[in-house]
C-alpha cells in the first residue's frame, strides 16, 4: 500500500509532525486508522475496567461493609475511555489546566451524584465534608478517580509513542533504512522508545502481581467469606482473564502501532491486511496462553486441571520412586554404599530407562537452577550497566595504559642503565688513561709517535687534536661529543684556571683551520706550536698537581689505616 501524502499528514492520536489542529473534531478525524482509533483505547479501557472490577471484588471480601454498586463500574469504564481519548486532545491542543480540573470534577461529580441518588450518605448535606469520610462514598470515588488517572496515563503514553515512532520513521525516511539505523541512531530514540514500551510492561506486571497477591491472600486467609458470595469466583476469574488478555494484547498492539506509524512515515507500501492478521494472531496466541495458564487452573475449562496435574504428578512420582533409598537402610548399622545414599535404585530393580530419566531430571534441575541464577545475575548486571554500555569500552583501555606505563618504565630503566654504563666506561677510560705524561723537548713527536702534517691548516688541526687527547688522557675533560670547539676550549680553560688567553688564541687558529678556507702563512706553524706548548705545559702541571694530591690522600689514608 502506497501511503498518500494526505494520509502521511494524518496524525493518529496526535502527532508532532501534524498540521496544527484547529479543533477537537479535526484532531479526532486525524485518528484515521482503526488501530489507534479503537483497538488501543479499547484494550487500555478493558485493562482499566478489569482492574476496577477486581478492586471491587477484593473489597467485597476484605472490607465487606463497603459496597460498590455495579453502575460505578460502568461509570468508571466510561470515565476511562473518556480519559484515554481526551489525553491526546489535552496534549495536542494545549488545553488549560482548568479544563482538565473541570473534566475530573465532572466525572467525580457524576459518581457522587449517583451515590447520593442511590441513598448513600443521606444523613449529611450534599457538600458536607463529613460525607467524604463515609467509606461508601469515598471508596467508589477513589476507584473511579484511580481508573480515570490510570487511563489518562495510557492516553498520554500513546501520544508519546506515536511521536517517537513518527520521529523514528522520519529518520528512517532520511536514511533509507527505516528500522535498524533509526533504532541505532544517537537521537535518544532508543531510550525514549524503551521507556514508552516498558511503560506497558511495567504496568501489566505490577497489576498482575497485585492481583495474584490479593487472590492468594483471599484464598488463604478469607476462604470462609467466599462461601456466601455466589459467583464471586467466576466474576474475579473473568476480570483476571480480561486483565491478562487486554494487558498482553496491548503490548502486542503497541508494537504493531509503532510499526504502522513508521511505515506510514517512511511511506513503505505495506499490505493493509498485515495489521489485522497481526492482531488476530496475537489474539489467538494470547487466548491459548490464557487457556493454559488461567482457565484450566480456574476450573473453567471442560478439562479437569486438577486431575490432569495429578496424573502428571503420578507419572513423575512413579519414576522418582525408584530413586528413593529403601527405608530399612536408614536405621541399620550395615554398610550403605554411596551409590545407595545418592538414591540410585537397588541392584535388583535397576533399569537403564530409569537411570537415564534420573540423569535427565538431574540435568534439567541443574540447568534450570544454573540458568535461573545466570539469568538473575545477567539481569542485575544488565540493569546496572544499562546506561553505561557506551562508557564501558573505556575499561578496555586500562590494560593498554598499564602496558604503556610498564613499557615506558622499562624503557627509562634501560636508558638509565645504558647511560650509567656509558658514563662508567668513560670514567674508566679516563682513569686508565690518566698516567704521567713524558716530557721532552719534542713532546709533540713523542706523544703520538705520528708524523706532523706539513700544510699549516692540517698542522693546526693536528695540534688541536693532540690537545684534546692530552686533556682527555689527563682526566681534565671528557671527549667532546655535542660540544663545539669553542665550548670545549672554554670548558677546558675554566678547568685549568690559567692560560685561557693562549687557549682562546689556539682555538681561534683551529676554527679558521677547520671551518674556513683561509690560507695560513708558513710561520703560523711555529706560532701555533708555541701557543700549544704553553697549553700542554699547563695541562701537565695540572696533572702533576692532581697526582701529588692523590699521592697525599693515599698516604694519609694509609697512615690512618695503620693507626687504626
Amino acid at each position: 500500500m502506497q501511503v498518500s501524502s494526505d494520509q502521511r499528514e494524518s496524525t493518529p492520536i496526535g502527532g508532532a509532525k501534524a498540521n496544527k489542529p484547529n479543533g477537537i473534531l479535526q484532531l479526532a478525524r486525524q485518528q484515521a486508522h482503526w488501530l489507534e482509533r479503537f483497538i488501543l483505547p479499547g484494550l487500555a479501557g478493558i485493562f482499566t475496567i478489569s482492574l476496577l472490577i477486581l478492586a471491587r471484588q477484593y473489597l467485597a471480601i476484605l472490607v465487606p461493609r463497603v459496597f460498590v454498586p455495579y453502575w460505578v463500574m460502568v461509570v468508571g469504564a466510561i470515565a476511562s475511555w473518556e480519559s484515554i481519548y481526551a489525553a491526546s486532545f489535552h496534549i495536542r491542543l494545549r488545553t488549560p489546566i482548568s479544563l482538565r480540573v473541570a473534566e475530573f470534577a465532572l466525572i467525580i461529580g457524576l459518581v457522587y451524584g449517583g451515590l447520593r441518588i442511590g441513598g448513600v450518605g443521606e444523613e449529611g448535606s450534599l457538600f458536607s465534608s463529613g460525607v467524604w469520610r463515609d467509606p461508601e462514598i469515598l471508596v467508589p470515588l477513589l476507584l473511579v478517580a484511580g481508573a480515570w488517572s490510570l487511563a489518562r496515563g495510557y492516553g498520554q503514553v500513546f501520544v508519546r509513542l506515536g511521536d517517537i515512532a513518527r520521529e523514528v520513521g522520519d529518520q528512517g525516511a532520511v536514511t533509507f533504512s527505516w528500522e535498524t539505523e533509526s533504532y541505532l541512531s544517537d537521537y535518544q530514540m532508543r531510550s525514549d522508545r524503551a521507556k514508552a514500551v516498558g511503560y506497558f510492561t511495567r504496568r501489566f506486571l505490577f497489576y498482575v502481581t497485585l492481583a495474584c497477591i490479593f487472590n492468594a491472600i483471599i484464598i488463604e486467609g478469607f476462604s470462609e467469606r467466599l462461601l456466601p458470595l455466589a459467583g464471586w469466583q467466576r466474576v474475579t476469574s473473568l476480570a483476571t482473564v480480561g486483565l491478562l488478555f487486554s494487558g498482553l494484547l496491548l503490548q502486542a498492539s503497541v508494537y504493531l502501532y509503532r510499526l504502522r506509524v513508521i511505515w506510514q512515515e517512511v511511506r513503505i507500501p505495506v499490505d493493509t491486511g498485515i495489521p489485522r492478521d497481526w492482531l488476530w494472531s496475537s489474539v489467538v496466541f494470547i487466548g491459548l496462553v490464557l487457556l493454559v495458564a488461567v482457565l484450566l487452573p480456574s476450573g473453567l475449562s471442560p478439562l479437569n486441571f486438577s486431575r490432569t496435574m495429578e496424573m502428571l504428578a503420578g507419572w513423575m512420582a512413579r519414576g522418582m520412586d525408584f530413586s528413593l533409598p529403601p527405608k530399612e537402610h536408614s536405621g541399620s548399622t550395615t554398610y550403605t554404599s554411596p551409590m545407595g545414599q545418592m538414591g540410585l535404585p537397588e541392584t535388583g530393580t535397576f533399569s537403564w530407562l530409569v537411570a537415564v530419566l534420573y540423569f535427565l531430571f538431574s540435568l534439567l534441575l541443574v540447568v534450570l537452577v544454573v540458568g535461573a541464577i545466570a539469568a538473575l545475575v545477567g539481569l542485575v548486571l544488565f540493569a546496572f550497566f544499562k546506561d553505561e554500555w557506551e562508557r564501558l569500552h573505556g575499561l578496555a583501555r586500562i590494560p593498554i595504559y598499564i602496558y604503556l606505563w610498564f613499557r615506558e618504565t622499562i624503557g627509562q630503566l634501560f636508558a638509565l642503565l645504558s647511560t650509567g654504563a656509558r658514563r662508567s666506561r668513560e670514567l674508566f677510560g679516563r682513569w686508565s688513561g690518566a698516567k704521567p705524561l713524558s716530557r721532552s723537548d719534542d713532546a709533540l713527536g713523542q706523544r703520538q709517535g705520528r708524523a706532523s702534517p706539513s700544510a699549516p691548516a692540517l698542522y693546526i688541526r693536528h695540534l688541536f687534536t693532540l690537545l684534546i687527547e692530552a686533556a682527555v688522557g689527563s682526566g681534565l675533560v671528557q671527549y667532546p661529543t655535542s660540544q663545539t670547539p669553542l665550548e670545549y676550549s672554554k670548558d677546558l680553560g675554566t678547568r685549568l684556571g690559567c692560560v685561557e688567553e693562549e687557549l682562546g688564541l689556539l682555538t681561534d687558529y683551529y676554527l679558521r683551520a677547520r671551518y674556513s678556507q683561509a690560507d695560513f702563512p708558513r710561520d703560523s706553524r711555529s706560532i701555533v706550536k708555541d701557543i700549544w706548548q704553553i697549553v700542554i705545559t699547563a695541562i701537565d702541571t695540572w696533572q702533576d698537581k692532581a697526582v701529588e694530591e692523590a699521592e697525599k690522600d693515599r698516604s694519609k689514608s694509609a697512615t690512618q689505616a695503620n693507626d687504626i
Partner: protein, 330 residues
C-alpha cells in the same frame, strides 16, 4: 664543483660593519633587545620572514618600523581582522572612468617591510594569500603578476594569550616563516631607559637610514657566499633529522627547515664578520629557526614539554663531530 662555487670571498667585514650600524640605530628605539634585532637582521639577510609571538606593547611594531627606516625601506602595516580580504592585502583593480580601464591599486603587500599585526585574527583564506606572497615574492591579480620589491620582509605578529576569535596558523604555514622570535618584557634597567628616552618625544622620529635597499640586496647576495664546511652542513642535517626522531615530536622539521638553518648560519656568520660558519652559529640560531616547525605529541604538550626544550635537548645530544681524533690525526 663545490669548491668552484665558493671561490668568491664575500666582503663580510662591510656586512658586519653595516649590520652593527643598523643594530645601533634600531637600538635607539628598541632598548635591550639586541638578540631580537640581530635575529631579525639574520632573517632579512637570508631573505626570510619573521613571526613574532609576544604580548602586546613590547615593541613589535616599533622594531619593524625602526628596521624599515634603518634600511631605507618602505614600510606598511596590516592590522589583521576576520573581515580582512585577500584583496585588502594584495591590492585590487578598480575602474578608472577617465581612461575607461581597470587600474591596479597595489595593496600594503607592495612594500619592502610589511608588518602583519595579529595575523592569527585574519581568516585562513587571507592568511594563505599573504603566505603565498611571502613564499613566491610575487602576487597575481586579475591574471597579471606583480613582482614584490626587494628586500621583502614580512614581520607577522601573533598574540599568544588570546584564542577567541582567532584562526591559529596551521603548522604547514608556520613552516613558511624563516624564524620565530619572542621579544619578551624588558628588564628593570631597560624599562627605566625606555621611560627616559620617551619622556619628551619618541626616538622613532629621530633615527636616520643607515643604508639603502640596493646595498642591502647586495648584502643578501653576498651572504650566500659564506662558506659552510662539510661537517657543519652535516651537523645541520643531523640536527634537523634528529627533530624527526625525537620521542616528543610527531612531525619534525622539514627540509625547508634544514635549508633555513643553513641560510641562517650563513647570515649570522656574515653578521659577525666571518666568511665561514661555525657549529656555534648553528647552535645559536637553531631554536628560533626550528622550534616553530615542530609538531609535538599531545601527551608531551600536556606534560609541559615546549618546542624550545626539544631543540635544546637535541642540541645537547647531537654530535658536532668537529674532529675525528683517531683517523685524521694520523
Amino acid at each position: 664543483m663545490a669548491d668552484e662555487m665558493h671561490t668568491t670571498r664575500p666582503d663580510v667585514e662591510s656586512i658586519a660593519l653595516l649590520c652593527q650600524k643598523i643594530m645601533d640605530n634600531v637600538g635607539q628605539v628598541i632598548v635591550g633587545k639586541t638578540k631580537a634585532v640581530e635575529l631579525m637582521l639574520v632573517a632579512l639577510l637570508s631573505g626570510g620572514h619573521v613571526l613574532v609571538e609576544d604580548v602586546p606593547g613590547v615593541g613589535k611594531t616599533m622594531l619593524a618600523r625602526a628596521m624599515a627606516i634603518s634600511l631605507g625601506c618602505s614600510f606598511s602595516r596590516i592590522q589583521c581582522t576576520p573581515d580582512l580580504l585577500p584583496s585588502d592585502v594584495t591590492g585590487v583593480s578598480v575602474y578608472d572612468p577617465a581612461s575607461s580601464q581597470f587600474v591596479f591599486r597595489p595593496g600594503p603587500v607592495m612594500s619592502q617591510i610589511l608588518l602583519a599585526d595579529e595575523i592569527n585574527r585574519a581568516t585562513p583564506r587571507t592568511q594563505s594569500s599573504l603566505l603565498e606572497c611571502m613564499a613566491e615574492a610575487q602576487i597575481t591579480v586579475d591574471g597579471k603578476t606583480w613582482q614584490l620589491p626587494r628586500p621583502f620582509l614580512v614581520m607577522a605578529t601573533q598574540n599568544p594569550i588570546e584564542y577567541e576569535g582567532t584562526f591559529p596558523l596551521p603548522e604547514a604555514q608556520l613552516d613558511r616563516f624563516f624564524l620565530r622570535l619572542r621579544l619578551g618584557y624588558p628588564g628593570e634597567m631597560e624599562e627605566n631607559e625606555i621611560l627616559m628616552r620617551l619622556q619628551y618625544r619618541h626616538p622613532i622620529g629621530t633615527i636616520q637610514g643607515c643604508t639603502d635597499p640596493e646595498t642591502f640586496v647586495n648584502m643578501q647576495d653576498a651572504t650566500r657566499q659564506v662558506y659552510v664546511e662539510d661537517s657543519v652542513r652535516e651537523y645541520v642535517v643531523r640536527l634537523t633529522r634528529a627533530t624527526r626522531q625525537h620521542t616528543d615530536v610527531v612531525i619534525g622539521a622539514s627540509p625547508r627547515g634544514s635549508l633555513a638553518l643553513f641560510r641562517a648560519g650563513q647570515a649570522l656568520a656574515a653578521l659577525r664578520g666571518r666568511d665561514y660558519v661555525l657549529p656555534d652559529d648553528i647552535k645559536y640560531i637553531a631554536i628560533p629557526v626550528l622550534s616553530h616547525r615542530l609538531i609535538l605529541r599531545p601527551e608531551s604538550q600536556l606534560r609541559g614539554v615546549a618546542h624550545e626544550n626539544v631543540i635544546q635537548e637535541l642540541l645537547q645530544s647531537t654530535a658536532v663531530k668537529f674532529e675525528q681524533i683517531d683517523d685524521e690525526a694520523q
